[in-house]
Each structure stands twice: as C-alpha cells, then as structure tokens.
Subunit: 182 residues, 2 copies
C-alpha cells in the first residue's frame, strides 16, 4: 500500500497493541519533504463529558482517582461511548451513573479533540439543565465523590489548576460562554 | 511486585510499545472491589501551548494538518518539551519556530491534562504579550499557515467547533479569563 494522508504518504500500517479501550498502531510514512519517518497513533474509544447545572447556577462535578495521572481529579461526569449508544445516550447514562442526576434539558456543546497529533479520540460535550436528583449507579470499581459548587467557582478552580482535565475545562468554559450569551 | 496506585493494586507492569514520543505499558491490576483487570497506559512527551496576543487584541494561531485526526486543525502554537528545556523555554522556541514571534511578556496560564485515565501527559499553557514579529523557523516537514484573528473571534470559533484541540481551547479561554479579570 501507499496511501496519502494529508501531506504525508503512508507506506505501511501495523497494529502494535490492543485492549478493549485503546489501539496502538505504527505508520511508516514519508514526510512532506520526502524524508522517511514513523508515527505511533493511539485510537481511544470516543467519550462524553457532561456538566450538570441547576436553576441556582450550582454545577455538579465528580472527584475520583484517575489511573494515568495517578491522583484524584475533579472532572465533569465523563466516560466512554458504548458501541450501541449515541453520544447523548452515553451522556445521560454517565450523568446518572456517576452522580445520580437526570436532566430534562440537554444542550449540545459540541466536541473537543483532547490531542490531535498522536491520539485519535473525540469527546462530545453537553450541558444538562432542569435536574432531577436520584441515586448514583456506579460501576462496582468506581469510587466517585460528588462535588457541588457555583459555576464561577469551577472557573476559578480551572484558573488555579485545581481542575485540569482538558474536556472538563472545555465543557465548563463553553457552558459559561453559552449561558452568558443568552 | 505488588504496588498500591491509589485504590488500585498493581500486580505487574509491561512495556508494550515505544517510540521517541510515546510509550505504552500494560498494568495488570486488582480493582478496589477486588476484581482483576488491566490498564493500557500511554505516556506521551509533555508539551506546551502558547497563545500570542498583540496590543490590539489580535491572537496568532496556526493551521496545520494533524496526523492522528487526519485533517487541518487551528491551534495555538504547540509542541513537545525537549529533555533539556523548561516549559517556558519550549514555549518560546515553539512560538518562534511556528509563527516567527518573540514576546517580551510571558504569563504562566498553568497546566492541563488532555486525558487522565489512559494518557499521562502534561501540557503547560502560556500567554505571550508585547510581541515582536520575525520569520518562522519550522522543522522541514512542518507546513504551518499562520491565522490571525481577534481573541473574541477565537472564542466564537471554539463555540462553533472550528477550534477543537483541547489544550488550544483551554489556553484561549484561560487567556480571555485572565485578561478580562485584570
């Protein structure tokens, strides 16, 4: 094979690692200037991030140990999209599972690419309003603490690096921008 | 070995793939509820993202084909941190290489974790002010077009999914928040 991928010519593709969530392949390429090179590309299951905000402008977030960064991270409800789900269905499921929240109003906040050079993964962003509070239905291995704060306090936490998860930061800022512009 | 990693017990670690930019390892673990499992963890070289804004509030971004997502992406100047560099040194180098811009004033906008469960990578964020314009010094394989727009237009592009790269979105929103609060 020799296939064009934008300005790169792909000479070969080889699967290097695979588990149910990620797939790593290596592409041997020719760079736009003609030099040979390689890319290790990671495909991660697409995901959703959902920010629930109530009528008094309180935001509902999660605090959980995240494996790769090895510490607790405050994030909006987030998770992978199952193969039989739409992004919105996954968002509803994650919000219910992680925080026990259902919502009557769903706002599509678009999409973010957490990384663009080595990682292929879309994260779909939502704002949930008109909330109904119930009981969380976590996976048995998840230890998630709910975190409630005013939306402006969440922005402050981003500015102080107390919220660093990319998709959570983008969801919070987009929600604020959306609500302010209405 | 058996090592505790937050609520997870790590039974073994195995390197599965490595190139100069990424490293993939597989951890066999015991979940907090006692069930066995595995994590594929990707370590990607730490990076920087820099937004340059001039005295008239014009922002300077880049447009380039990004390999993993397979399309052109509008992003702030971004790249990996070399082993002999501090994040600030990498930010200065990337801004000069990609856009030919030097800056007298540098604002530390903190850090983002693009992903937190499967990927370990920090991206350090900067705002560059008091700009001096020169000639870009790209790597020979980089084909980068400069993109100039008002800061508010960049926010609008994020809202319309025309800018989706996570660290770029976070840098742009943080820069706006920083400038508005002064």
């Amino acid at each position: 094979m020799e296939k064009q991928h934008g300005p790169w010519a792909v000479k070969s593709r080889e699967l290097k690692y695979k588990n149910p969530w990620i797939e790593v392949r290596e592409d041997k390429v020719t760079a736009p200037d003609g030099t040979p090179g390689l890319f290790g590309i990671i495909k991660i299951k697409d995901g959703v991030s959902v920010l629930a905000i109530d009528d008094e402008n309180y935001a509902y977030l999660t605090k959980e140990f995240h494996y790769a960064i090895g510490r607790d991270s405050i994030e909006v409800a987030s998770g992978g999209i199952e193969s039989d789900e739409t992004p919105l269905e996954a968002a509803k499921r994650e919000l219910k599972e992680e925080l026990g929240i259902e919502a009557q109003e769903w706002v599509d906040l678009g999409v973010t690419d957490p990384l663009t050079t080595f990682v292929e993964k879309n994260t779909f962003l939502f704002l949930a309003r008109k909330l109904k509070f119930g009981v969380a239905k976590k996976d048995s291995h998840e230890i998630i603490a709910p975190v409630k704060m005013k939306l402006d306090a969440a922005i402050e936490m981003i500015m102080k690096d107390e919220i660093t998860h990319g998709a959570s930061c983008v969801t919070i800022f987009k929600a604020k921008q959306y609500l302010d512009s209405r």
